[in-house]
Amino acid sequence: MKKTNNLTKQIGSFWAHYSYIVVMLVIMIVYAITISANGSSFRWSHITAILSSQNTCIIGTMAIGMALVVLTGQIDLSIGSSLVFTTSACIVVFNMTNSILAMIAAALIVGGILGLINGALVGLAKMPPFIATMGTMLIYRSLSLSVVRSMDTAISGSTSSQFAMLRSNSKYDFLRFSFGTGKILSIPYITLVFLLMVLLFIFVTKKTKYGKSIYAVGSNEKAAHLSGINTTFIKVSVYVVTGLLVGVASVLQACKLGNITPASSGKSYEMYAIAAIVLGGISMAGGKGNLLGVIFGALSYTTVNFIIVSIPSLTVDIQDTFQGLVLIIVILIQTLSPVLKEKAQIAKRRRLAESGK
């Protein structure tokens, strides 16, 4: 009796801290079932497809930044548009210089600046994050759009309102093929970059004073301020970090796809990133959550997409409905399970007490 009690307790505490792992496993199993229902069998290649999907790596990398912003109790709606702007910039720089270093530097600098603008609006001008980043979301995309239409195609690399990496550049093959689609032990390099970033930020949030300040600001900003923490710095800095991560994501985007279309690329990525972090167990109220969850959240989110696509009878029009439903159901399970558990316990105690007396 005691042993089973202990076991349920352990399971309970595992669920409380790592429910996002269980969620991912369940979604994977559903995926495996839908695949076999369609007559093929679930293979390792299905998993690597999930791992190397741009949903996982590119949105996942940006979701790390979103997670930090959300942990401080704010939000960043501009990351999809920022990705377009930074990728445009880094492709242009690549086309002009044929230098990998210059391209990466451009991505990080431009991303960082875009993030800093968001941070300044929110942290210094004290605008509500939702509104400020909605504004920059519109601006960043439309700036890229207006530039692409007027730019010399020798620099933009494409004639079709796109920025594309020039095939004629000597580093093109390395970036696009050796790195962009290359693998080690069947794990794509770009996935490794994403995983590396998550590990880095798990370390930052768990082991550094900066990381703890992020949680403190999101949990009780006033108390954090009275503890001497420069709350404005923390709130601005998470936007800058997000910008830098968008920079990393834009290098991945460039190498994986070779181009970006300002009119359509990166649309709704902010929503996907939010979905991924929520699936990863990070609280939208701020102050609570584990960056490890971003890996599982991103994988869960990608898998949901794969499930939808693998069901032939779902037309494109209805796909979003399914995506929305899955999201709602998963979150419902996560938020309701402690409530239901508590209710069941109370009911049990009540029965015991009343029958005893």
Binding site: K207, T208, K209, A216, S219, N220, A223, I229
Partner: protein, 496 residues
């Protein structure tokens, strides 16, 4: 005498921690029942069980003849129990009126909220209770003491038969407390009952009729207040004979270390004071006296509007971190709003301020932090299972000790304490006094803001009484008495 409440065989554990073991509590109609015990004795937990906030593991509640096992909050509210929590629960972004009428709004035509009527009712309520708060003010703008009064008014406004007051007077002045007791006596005559939790003995012996003592989650004693003495109940609480020793001793003070020169700020003006190394100075004054605001300005929380603050001859102005770097620390009032970071563990709450000073060394060494915490835990006698537990799992008084530890951990030379013994039990209070005296002996300067005059008499070398944003008097240790301080703090007497 009619018994209205009987709680019997109540037990409750949080994980492995037994908060209550088979305790009982009986309350009669028309009495003020004092519930006593050290920090962590289980008082708040029992009240949370009574009001359905928490569920007991076993036991029975009988209220007004009806049995309850694991009631819900609404059930107990409807049965006629109102609860003023230990930590403030007002909503800062609503007005005073909206807070009072939350979930029981007065409606007029078409079911719309009748705001005028609500304001009118609130005015009447405040008038009858002698509370001077603007009903239409945003709660955010109220002082801590006003928020506490608001909470009490809210409970008194219901037609509850039993009202629970969990440490209701921790940020009230003597005058406000006297007033509150007047109201309680009146309501008691009308047959209302109160459960009154407090760590202040004089209060309990003024207002309570009967008492119950818990220790470590078990029932110890119960009886009529008139049959006992403060000494006896205190002994029941701590388990050994408690001697409230006189600990003050005259000391040789060091050189002047901190100086305020014609300092003006929000709520006070042209204050000139100087503090010496190793000195203990008490600030006291009613709400609006400017004492608390002055303290906040001395830590960079509120802006300097004129004059200067000099630490060792150097002018100080700027961010809180800047003041901290110059070896100043401040423990704020209103624990829940200003100190508790609820998503961080006990250890994280403890080290967060020190990390501002050592921000350049980014990586946290848990073993080092744990060691520092354990050391403070021992000197302050913090009752906590594990340093990685949630801060909110500690009893109120133990949380307060963690925050004292947090500021001691910054190595400050000047310690500003706003209401440092708030919600701390007698034993621990004596402990904190002893510690403050020790800091002073070790050359630290301690400035504390308090409304409790006995506290001033115990440890302060000097007492600065504020009235209307000015210094009304500076009293030497030997001149401090309830009466003189009262005279100066109400503006009846003036020294200068």
């Amino acid at each position: 005498m009619k018994r209205i409440l009987e709680m019997s065989h109540i037990s409750k554990a949080f994980g492995g921690v037994k908060a209550l073991t088979d305790v009982h509590l009986e309350v009669n109609e028309g009495e003020v029942h004092a519930l006593l015990g050290e920090n962590g004795a289980g008082k708040s937990t029992l009240m949370n069980i009574l009001t359905g906030v928490l569920q007991a593991d076993s036991g029975k509640i009988t209220f007004l003849g009806k049995d309850y096992y694991t009631p819900t909050i609404t059930q107990m509210e409807e049965a006629g129990i109102a609860f003023v929590h230990q930590e403030l629960n007002v909503i800062n972004d609503l007005t005073v009126v909206d807070n009072i009428f939350l979930t029981r709004e007065l409606t007029g035509k078409f079911g719309l909220i009748d705001e005028d009527k609500e304001v009118q009712k609130t005015r009447e309520l405040f008038e009858s209770l002698g509370v001077k708060i603007d009903p239409t003010a945003m709660v955010r703008t109220l002082k801590t003491s006003e928020k506490q009064l608001l909470e009490i008014c809210k409970a008194l406004y219901t037609d509850a038969k039993l009202i629970i007051l969990d440490e209701p007077t921790t940020s009230l002045s003597n005058e406000e407390i006297d007033h509150l007791f007047g109201i309680l006596s009146k309501l008691r005559e009308q047959g209302k009952s109160f459960i009154f939790i407090s760590h202040k003995m004089p209060e309990i012996f003024t207002i309570a009729d009967r008492y119950t003592v818990f220790r470590n989650g078990t029932f110890i004693s119960s009886g009529d207040i008139k049959d006992t003495t403060p000494k006896d109940v205190t002994s029941d609480m701590v388990g050994t004979t408690f001697v409230d020793a006189d600990m003050y001793e005259q000391r040789e003070l060091g050189e002047e270390i901190l100086k305020l020169h014609k300092l003006s700020g929000r709520g006070f003006s042209k204050i000139s004071l100087s503090f010496r190394k190793g000195e203990i100075v008490a600030f006291t004054g009613l709400a609006g006296s400017g004492a608390s605001e002055l303290m906040q300005t001395m830590f960079g929380v509120l802006p300097i509007e004129g004059g200067s603050i000099e630490y060792k001859g150097k002018k100080l102005e700027g961010s809180i971190a800047h003041f901290m770097k110059n070896k100043i620390a401040m423990l704020p009032s209103n624990r829940k709003e200003n100190s508790v970071i609820k998503d961080l563990s006990i250890l994280e709450n403890f080290y967060i301020a020190e990390h501002v000073l050592s921000f350049k060394k980014q990586i946290i060494k848990k073993s080092v932090e744990d060691e520092r915490y354990e050391q403070q835990k021992k000197t302050l006698r913090i009752k906590a299972a594990s340093s990685s537990a949630e801060i909110t799992s500690l009893s109120g008084g133990n949380q307060q000790k963690v925050f004292l530890a947090k500021w001691l951990n910054t190595g400050a030379e000047v310690l500003l304490f706003n209401n440092p013994t708030r919600g701390v039990d007698v034993g621990a209070k004596a402990e904190i006094y002893r510690l403050i005296l020790e800091f002073a002996k070790a050359g630290k300067t301690v400035i504390f803001n308090t409304l409790e005059i006995p506290e001033v008499q115990k440890i302060a070398d000097r007492c600065v009484v504020f009235y209307g944003g000015k210094v009304a008097a500076i009293l030497d240790h030997k001149d401090v008495s309830e009466k003189t301080v009262m005279g100066y703090s109400t503006g009846i007497n003036t020294q200068r």
